[in-house]
Amino acid sequence: MIKSLSKPNKAPVVLQLKDIVKTYNSGNVQFNALDGVNLSIHKGEFVSITGPSGSGKSTLMHIIGLLDIPTSGQVLLEGKDISHFKEHQLAQIRNVTLGFVFQQFNLLPKTSALENAILPLLYSDVPASQRHQKGIEMLTKVGLESKLKNTPAQLSGGQQQRVAIARALINDPKIILADEPTGNLDSKSGRDVMDFFHQLHQKEGRTIIFVTHDRELANEADRIVIIKDGKIEIETKK
């Protein structure tokens, strides 16, 4: 493992992975999609994870996003080992602390942009009377104030992804996770999404981790993690 030297990050570690292994059993064959991953993410960092297709990027993101559990290893969130957390505690972290953006948007069909954006509020403490207001704020922030009532079918891919980003931001999460957020978009819409992430990072100081197989996009981050065959190959910092 090669690590480039640069000045150490003084910001606190918000997320730490220790010896993460994820094994899939397909038939009789056991396969390690992740094979001993160690990674620390500091507060306010903008990190990209890149690597060839099938290298384990999504698997890693799902474990970071608490959407899946590792076969072995530890995930520490703000210093706490989450492996002992109960299902409803994990749900609460996904709801409040993390904001996940998917490649396939994953919006509820036949449901308006506004309702999609405020869906996480249903499971949080925000009172019903404030939800619409928050949703409108978030959709305005992603430039969709004129499309509140549109259903996913009435929105372009770029617009759908922006609704998904508004949804990820609605509970003011500490960490934003995005798995190939531009993967299903044309280059113009993809550029817009990337610019928006830069803005969130620079102006609001949010911690952002995103996955891309596009080296150029990956290079826009502060730190680039290259993964291959389930192992971190190189980490570079600007």
Partner: protein, 405 residues
């Protein structure tokens, strides 16, 4: 505190129901079919039963009948084989029975013969009953106000030629005209109409008592030349004494007649024989109703299974953005309950309207039990098949659920 609140869950479930109209309609259709058909079919069975019970009540209560021949078989059903309805009791039997029963009961004869009755040019063949005034009192056949009266003891002792008409025979002969005081001809002899009995409704499959013409028993003997008596009715003073009167009557008759030559029975016995036939019919109807419940249930199950992948992905997403398993289960449970109630209420409405429609030509009566049964079974199916896949999906990791195909 419950998160989401019950209000949020109901709203969320309603939104999902309204957004997926196809799914909603197909699911409720299963419940509607099940509930409607169970209510309709059982309403026919119970309607028939209560109709027949009503008819028996109209014939008069606390009555014991004595008829010639063997009517019932050993298991309580109707005896098969040739029945001889020949007049064969004697006038002296009445006196003997009345003496034997004393204060317990009043014995009165009923002789019946099918004869021609004529008024003007109109002629009908009908049942002429020779009896005593007790018939009017104990078999609910007293003519109402303004329709004359039944004949008296004096009419019997003087062998007066007077007749009381049943409702339908009066209608056939006289139409809108008032029959009271008019002369009719029975078997070629003139009779004066002195009363008309109110409509009683036909007994299912039994004699049409609205077509009866009543004349004094003494006069009956006179025109038919028969001194024999075909049957007796015995009015018992108290329902508790019915069994005692039956035993006593049998004992007295056995002194003169063979045990298979006559039958002593009361309406409850007749009723239970008829009810056992209806029972078989009801079992058949219930079977058909059960089939439609199953059909409805399979419909619900199918639509739930068809949408399971779509719903599993929805569950995956909800979990990914922070829903905990119980919130998901509750939402799906509430959705299923709303759908079941919606379908159930429509089904109950259809069932009621349908049985009202049937009621115009066939007795039908909706029972609370059938409503509860139908609603219970189909909503249980709806809830089980609505919640079961959700329960399974809520146990998957968010990512497994999101990827579900």
């Amino acid at each position: 505190m419950l998160k989401p609140s019950l209000e949020d869950l109901i709203k969320s479930a309603l939104r999902s129901i309204l957004k997926n109209k196809g799914r909603t309609i197909l699911t409720s259709l299963g419940i509607i079919i099940g509930v409607t058909s169970v209510i309709l079919l059982t309403s026919i069975g119970t309607g028939l039963q209560s109709y027949i019970n009503d008819q028996f009540d109209k014939l008069g209560s606390n009555l014991v009948y004595v008829a010639p021949g063997k009517i019932f078989n050993e298991s309580g059903g109707f005896a098969s084989g040739e029945q001889s309805f020949t007049n064969f009791f004697k006038q002296s039997d009445i006196r003997k029975l009345q003496r034997g029963l004393g204060d317990l009961a009043i014995v009165f004869p009923a002789n019946e013969s099918t004869l021609k009755i004529k008024f003007g040019k109109k002629e009908e063949l009908t049942s002429i009953v020779g009896t005593t005034p007790e018939w009017a009192i104990y078999r609910n056949s007293t003519p109402p106000e303004g329709q004359g009266s039944f004949f008296t003891k004096e009419d019997v002792s003087k062998q007066n030629k007077v007749a009381v008409l049943g409702f339908s025979i009066a209608d056939k002969l006289f139409g809108t005209r008032n029959p009271i005081g008019k002369e009719v001809t029975i078997d070629g002899k003139n009779f004066k109409v002195i009363g008309v009995v109110d409509k009683k409704g036909g007994t299912m499959g039994g004699p049409d008592i609205d077509a009866y013409v009543y004349i004094p028993s003494s006069t009956f003997k006179d025109i038919t030349g028969k001194d024999d008596i075909m049957s007796f009715s015995i009015k018992v003073n108290n329902a508790d004494n019915i069994e005692a009167v039956k035993r006593q009557t049998k004992r007295i008759l056995l002194e003169d007649y063979d045990k298979d030559a006559f039958t002593v029975f009361d309406s409850s016995q007749l009723l239970s024989s008829i009810n056992s036939i209806i029972g078989i019919l009801t079992v058949g109807l219930t079977g058909i109703a059960a089939i439609s419940l199953v059909v409805g249930g399979i419909g619900i199950m199918n639509i739930m299974l068809v949408t399971v992948s779509e719903r599993t992905r929805e569950i995956g997403l909800r979990k990914a953005i922070g829903a905990y398993p119980r919130a998901i289960l509750l939402q799906f449970l509430i959705e299923a309950i709303i759908l079941s109630c919606f379908g159930g209420i429509i089904g109950i409405t259809f069932g009621f309207l349908g049985s009202l429609a049937i009621n115009t030509f066939f007795p039908a009566k909706v029972t609370l039990n059938s409503v509860l049964l139908a609603f219970g079974v189909s909503s249980a199916v709806g809830v089980i098949f609505g919640v079961m896949p959700a329960r399974r999906a809520s146990k998957l990791s968010p990512i497994e659920a999101l990827r579900y195909e």
